[in-house]
C-alpha cells in the first residue's frame, strides 16, 4: 500500500529532479541572454515583443554571430584570431572601390572577397603551422597587414558607396513569410553557416580533431591527427566566415574606415560568454552564437536606456566581466 502511494510521488519528484538537472546543465549563456532579452521586451514592448522586432534584432546580431562561429573554431583549437576585425574593415573598404558604384560588379566583388578570405586564412594557418609563430602574434601581424593593405588600396578613405544588391545580404528581408512575417537574409545566412559549422564541429572527425589539438597537441599528433592540415583548414574557415560577417555588416553599417575596429575582441568575448575556454579544447557552436546574441542584446539594451556611447562602453565592460565570471564560476561548481 505504501508503495502504491509513494510510486507516483517518486515519479513526480524524479521528473522535477530531472527538469532541475536539465536546467542546471543548461549553459549559463541561455539564461543570461533570455533575461536581457526579456528586459528589452519589457522596456520596449512594441519592438521586442513583436516578430518583426525579433527579426530586426537577428539581422543586427547576425554579423557578430558569424564572426563568433569562425573565432570559436580557432579558439577551440587553442589559438586566437585577432585579424577578423581588420577583415571586416577590409571587406567594406575594398568592396567600396571594387564596386565602382556599378551594381553589375557586386557578385564578382563578393567572389573576390571570399577568395581573399581564403588566402588570408591560408597564410595565417601556414605561418602558425610551419613558422611556429603563436597565432596571437601571427594574426596580430595579419590584422596590421590587412588593415594597412586595405587602406593603401583605397587611399585612406572609402571610394564610393556600396551598391544595393551588394548590401542586400545584410540589409534586406524575405517578405511575407508565414508565421515569421519577414525573415532577414542575414539570419538565413547565419543559419546556413551555423548549421555547416555545427555539422563540421560536432558531427565529423574534423571537429573532434580540432578539440583534440586544442586539448593536447602532442596527444593529437601521437594519435595520428594531421595537426597542420586541420589547423590551416580551421584558420581558412575563420577568415572566410569573417569575410561573410563583413559583407553582412556592410549591408547596414556605415561605410567607414573604423567599421571593423574591435570586432575581433567582441567575437572573442562572445565565444567566452558562450562558454568557450581560451586555450582550447572546449567549444560549442550554438553557445557561441548565443554569446554573440547576448553581446548584441546588451548593446541594444544600453542604447534603449538612452545611455551615451561612453557609458555604453563602460557598462558593456562590466557586463562582459560579470557574464564571464558567472559562466566560469558555474563551470567550476560543476567540476
Amino acid at each position: 500500500m505504501t508503495e502504491s502511494i509513494s510510486t507516483p510521488q517518486t515519479g513526480f519528484s524524479k521528473l522535477l529532479r530531472s527538469i532541475w538537472a536539465g536546467i542546471k546543465k543548461t549553459p549559463p549563456v541561455y539564461p543570461i541572454f533570455f533575461i536581457i532579452f526579456i528586459i528589452l521586451g519589457l522596456l520596449n514592448p512594441n519592438k521586442y515583443q513583436s516578430m518583426n522586432g525579433v527579426m530586426t534584432f537577428l539581422r543586427t546580431a547576425a554579423p557578430l554571430a558569424v564572426l563568433a562561429i569562425g573565432e570559436m573554431l580557432v579558439l577551440a583549437l587553442g589559438g586566437f584570431d585577432l585579424s577578423v576585425g581588420a577583415i571586416v574593415t577590409f571587406v567594406v573598404l575594398v568592396s567600396s572601390k571594387l564596386l565602382a558604384n556599378d551594381p553589375a560588379n557586386a557578385y564578382p566583388a563578393i567572389m573576390i572577397m571570399l577568395g581573399s578570405g581564403l588566402v588570408i586564412g591560408l597564410v595565417n594557418g601556414l605561418i602558425v603551422s610551419y613558422l611556429k609563430v603563436p597565432s596571437f602574434i601571427t594574426t596580430l601581424g595579419m590584422m596590421l597587414l590587412v588593415r594597412g593593405g586595405a587602406l593603401y588600396y583605397v587611399g585612406g578613405a572609402p571610394q564610393g558607396y556600396l551598391t544595393d544588391n551588394w548590401r542586400a545580404f545584410g540589409r534586406n528581408y524575405i517578405e511575407n513569410v508565414p508565421l515569421f512575417g519577414r525573415v532577414p537574409y542575414a539570419f538565413i545566412i547565419l543559419i546556413v553557416i551555423g548549421a555547416l559549422a555545427y555539422f563540421l564541429f560536432h558531427r565529423t572527425h574534423f571537429g573532434k580533431q580540432i578539440l583534440t589539438i586544442g586539448d593536447n597537441v602532442r596527444a593529437a599528433q601521437f594519435s595520428g591527427v594531421r595537426v597542420k592540415l586541420v589547423r590551416v583548414l580551421t584558420f581558412i574557415l575563420c577568415s572566410v566566415f569573417a569575410i561573410i560577417g563583413g559583407i553582412l555588416l556592410g549591408g547596414f553599417g556605415g561605410v567607414n574606415v573604423t567599421i571593423g575596429e574591435g570586432m575581433e575582441m567582441q567575437a572573442i568575448a562572445a565565444c567566452v560568454v558562450g562558454g568557450v575556454l581560451l586555450g582550447g579544447g572546449k567549444g560549442n557552436i550554438l553557445n557561441a552564437i548565443f554569446g554573440a546574441f547576448t553581446l548584441q542584446a546588451i548593446v541594444n539594451l544600453l542604447n534603449l536606456l538612452g545611455l551615451p556611447k561612453p557609458y555604453t562602453d563602460a557598462v558593456q565592460g562590466l557586463i562582459i566581466i560579470g557574464a564571464v565570471a558567472y559562466v566560469g564560476i558555474s563551470s567550476l561548481r560543476k567540476r
Binding site: G141, G149, I329
Partner: protein
C-alpha cells in the same frame, strides 16, 4: 700564472652566463638593413647622425616602460589589455590636476598612481578571485576605463607645468632623462624577475600555477602584484607621454596601440605567451625594433598605410626568426 688562468676562466664564465636574447640579432639586422636603405634612398642620417640613434631610443621610451610591465604579467601567464586606456586616463587626469602649476605636480602624480594601482588591483582580483580569463577581464576593465574617460573628457585637458616637461625633454649631459628612466625601469624589471622571491614565484605561477600553489606559493597574491606593477608602468608611460605632449588627450593610449604593441614586443623578445618563460631584456630588444622601424620608415618617407602593412609583416618575421627552429607545435 695560475691567477691569470683563473681570471681568464672567470671571464669566460661571465661571458657564458650572459645570455643574449636572439631578438638582438634581429634588431641588428633590421638596423643595418634600414641604415643601408636610408643610405641608398634617403640622406643616410641613420648611420651618420648620432642624434638619430638617441631618437630611436627616446621614441621607444613609452612603449618600453609599459612593455616591462606587460612582460611581468605575461610571464605570469596572464595578459593586460587595459594598459592603453590606463595610459590615456593617466595623461588626461594628470594634466587635469596639474593645470600648469608646479605645486600641483606631486598631487597629480599621487593621484594617477592611485588610479593605476586601482586598475591593476581590479584586474588582478577579477582574474584570481572571480576566475575570469585574463584576456576577457582586462578587456572588460579596458572598456570600463575607456567609458569613464570618454564620458568625462573629449579633447586636450589642462596642461603640465614647464617644470614637469623635464621628464619628457630634459637632458643629463647629452643624454635625455627619459632614456635613464627607461633603463632604470628595465633594470628594475630584471631585478624583480631575476633576483627576488617574487620573481621566482612569478615564473612558477606562469609555468604551472597548480604546482606553484601546491609548493606553497600564494599564486593569487603574486599575480595580483604583477598586475598592479603592470598598471603602474602604464601610468609611468602615461606621465612621460603627457610631459612630452604638454597636455593630456584621451586618445594617446589607443592611438599608440600600447596594448597590442606591448604584447607584440614582449613576444618578439622571446617571452612565451603561455607564461613561465622570458625576461625584460628580450622585451627591450623588441621595443627597440619598433623604434628602429619607426625611424627608418620616417627617414624613407614611407606611406603610413604601407607602414602599417610592413609593421605587421615584420612582427611576424621577428617572432618567426627563432620559433621556426622550435620542434614544438605553436598554438
Amino acid at each position: 700564472m695560475t691567477t691569470a688562468t683563473v681570471t681568464a676562466n672567470g671571464f669566460r664564465r661571465v661571458l657564458r652566463s650572459i645570455h643574449i636574447p636572439p631578438v638582438y640579432f634581429f634588431l641588428i639586422l633590421i638596423f643595418i638593413a634600414g641604415g643601408l636603405l636610408d643610405q641608398v634612398f634617403a640622406d643616410g642620417q641613420i648611420f651618420s647622425n648620432p642624434a638619430i640613434m638617441l631618437n630611436i631610443v627616446v621614441r621607444s621610451v613609452a612603449l618600453g616602460i609599459v612593455a616591462v610591465g606587460q612582460s611581468l604579467v605575461i610571464i605570469g601567464a596572464s595578459i593586460d589589455l587595459s594598459v592603453a586606456y590606463t595610459i590615456s586616463i593617466t595623461a588626461v587626469m594628470s594634466s587635469y590636476i596639474m593645470v600648469g602649476k608646479t605645486e600641483n605636480v606631486p598631487m597629480a602624480i599621487l593621484g594617477v598612481f592611485g588610479i593605476g594601482a586601482l586598475i591593476g588591483l581590479a584586474n588582478g582580483l577579477i582574474i584570481t578571485k572571480l576566475h575570469v580569463n585574463p584576456f576577457i577581464a582586462t578587456l572588460g576593465t579596458s572598456l570600463i576605463v575607456k567609458g569613464i574617460i570618454n564620458a568625462s573628457f573629449s579633447n586636450y585637458t589642462g596642461s603640465v607645468p614647464k617644470s614637469f616637461e623635464y621628464f619628457g625633454y630634459g637632458k643629463i649631459g647629452p643624454i635625455p632623462v627619459s632614456i635613464f628612466i627607461l633603463v632604470i625601469i628595465v633594470m628594475g624589471g630584471w631585478f624583480l624577475l631575476a633576483r627576488t622571491k617574487f620573481g621566482s614565484h612569478l615564473y612558477g605561477v606562469g609555468g604551472n600555477s597548480e604546482v606553484a600553489r601546491l609548493s606553497g606559493v600564494r599564486t593569487d597574491r603574486v599575480l595580483i602584484i604583477a598586475h598592479v606593477i603592470c598598471s603602474m608602468t602604464a601610468v609611468l608611460a602615461g606621465l612621460f607621454l603627457v610631459s612630452q605632449m604638454r597636455s593630456g588627450a584621451p586618445w594617446v593610449g589607443p592611438n599608440g596601440v600600447y596594448d597590442l604593441n606591448s604584447i607584440a614586443t614582449t613576444v618578439i623578445g622571446g617571452t612565451a605567451l603561455a607564461g613561465g618563460k622570458g625576461g625584460v631584456w628580450g622585451t627591450l630588444g623588441g621595443v627597440l625594433i619598433f623604434g628602429v622601424l619607426e625611424t627608418v620608415f620616417n627617414q624613407l618617407g614611407v606611406n603610413p598605410y604601407i607602414k602599417t602593412f610592413l609593421q605587421g609583416a615584420i612582427i611576424v618575421l621577428a617572432v618567426a626568426s627563432y620559433t621556426i627552429r622550435s620542434k614544438k607545435e605553436a598554438a
